[in-house]
Symmetry: C2
Subunit: 252 residues, 2 copies
């Protein structure tokens, strides 16, 4: 228990593996999240418990948790405890869906699964998801509707091993949030994503589904989503109809 503390003594300060104590604590907490010791929605031990367990002061644990809370890995609630972040919380829903209505509010979001089948990874998918070419994958097509308007047509690629029994029936019973489903049923929690946005002309399939003319401009959003340890676990191509909606982004 005291091993890593000694690395913080002056004699070890110049070690190539040196990092501040609170970063090491952060690593230990992260390991608990990865291993499933504390699952999404769970309370983690109190600051003083963790301080005692790791043999550091409460302030050091606090700084570690502060960082993780700032990155949406943990959620602090005064008087109750610190919780593992979860996609079941509807408040954090639009963190991964930056869609807004041009006027008024978005309402009555509906996710409509269209297809779901298993296949073998081609070179592109394999590279993106860090799989072997030919590894089993799952392909999902689905439509997002807001009220009467179709908004997004998604094509989603998942590593087959992580989602054993995922089928159309599961998707249909899964509610509106895929990430919620992934988390609850397969223990795969999405924590970060990289998106690339382009404007493209609607092909036949997209234009039919989104109710626009073939060739009209669509916003193409390519997303790679990562779970703990920067492991890619989803590749997604979304065609956004931006006549009534837009992609909202804040630069700070």
């Amino acid at each position: 228990m005291l091993k890593f503390i000694s690395m913080n003594k002056p004699s070890a300060m110049h070690s190539p593996t040196f990092s501040p104590l609170y970063q090491q604590i952060r690593g230990l907490i992260t390991r608990g999240l990865e291993s499933g010791e504390w699952g999404p929605g769970d309370v983690i031990p109190s600051e003083s418990d963790l301080a005692a367990r790791f043999g550091v002061s409460q302030g050091t644990v606090r700084k570690a948790i502060d960082e993780m809370a700032a990155e949406n890995l943990l959620v602090r609630r005064q008087g109750k405890g610190t919780f593992v972040a979860t996609h079941n919380d509807p408040r954090s829903f639009f963190r991964f869906l930056r869609l807004a209505a041009n006027e008024g509010e978005l309402k009555s979001l509906k996710s409509i699964p269209l297809e779901c089948w298993r296949a073998k990874a081609g070179t592109d998918v394999a590279r993106t998801l860090a799989l072997e070419p030919g590894a089993p994958i799952i392909i999902i097509r689905r439509l997002l509707r807001f009220g009467d308007h179709p908004a997004v047509f998604d094509e989603i690629y998942l590593p087959g091993e992580l989602f054993p029994d995922l089928t159309m029936d599961v998707l249909k019973s899964g509610g509106t949030s895929l990430y919620s489903l992934f988390e609850n049923r397969y223990g795969v929690r999405m924590i970060r994503a990289d998106e690339r946005l382009r404007a493209v002309a609607a092909d036949r399939v997209s234009s039919d589904l989104l109710d626009v003319a073939e060739g009209s401009p669509l916003l193409l959003v390519e997303r790679v989503t990562f779970t703990y340890a920067n492991k890619p676990v989803e590749w997604r191509r979304g065609f956004y109809s931006t006549h009534d909606f837009h992609y909202h982004n804040e630069l700070g």
Copy 2:
């Protein structure tokens, strides 16, 4: 000097205007930034100086500065001091230009001003920039090129009062970063922006400038940029050619 501290005593804890000490310190530092007491690139006083000045502990000042550094208002540099953030720093350049090459690196960015004239605000611009309709505004058109490829065609609306002598000549001598120019010459520092992204068909002007076919899909980025105190000071419509480039966004 001790006035606001007394608000933190138990007797004042339930005051409707109560806020933590470090938030009040943050407000005081922010006021120094707004008033120009410390300009972009300047060092602000050390933590212990500020602690003495405001009559609080160094840790409280530290927490205030930590927050402001997390929001890119200040930049800490160990051993040197804490500095007011500036757009002159090339490292923070792509914070407001989320453009990346589909393959390889972006290189040799060039900003080419095309037009610059003064006009009176219509209702849309007036509403967006919180001006009276008819107030003086400046309209700029410019092209961004990366190497041999035209990348972005921007149309920019500014409140005329804040940029007294802004002309084509000034723009031509201003370097590649507009925000750098605004900061250095007019003391207007951009700190935050809201963007709305859509896909649109290229009109005649855009297609000519961006060297694409008329009607081909372009990424339209509408941006409202704010300075201190959430004051809007720029409205911008950018047409992005996304054949060789894409808009990059990280979701955390």
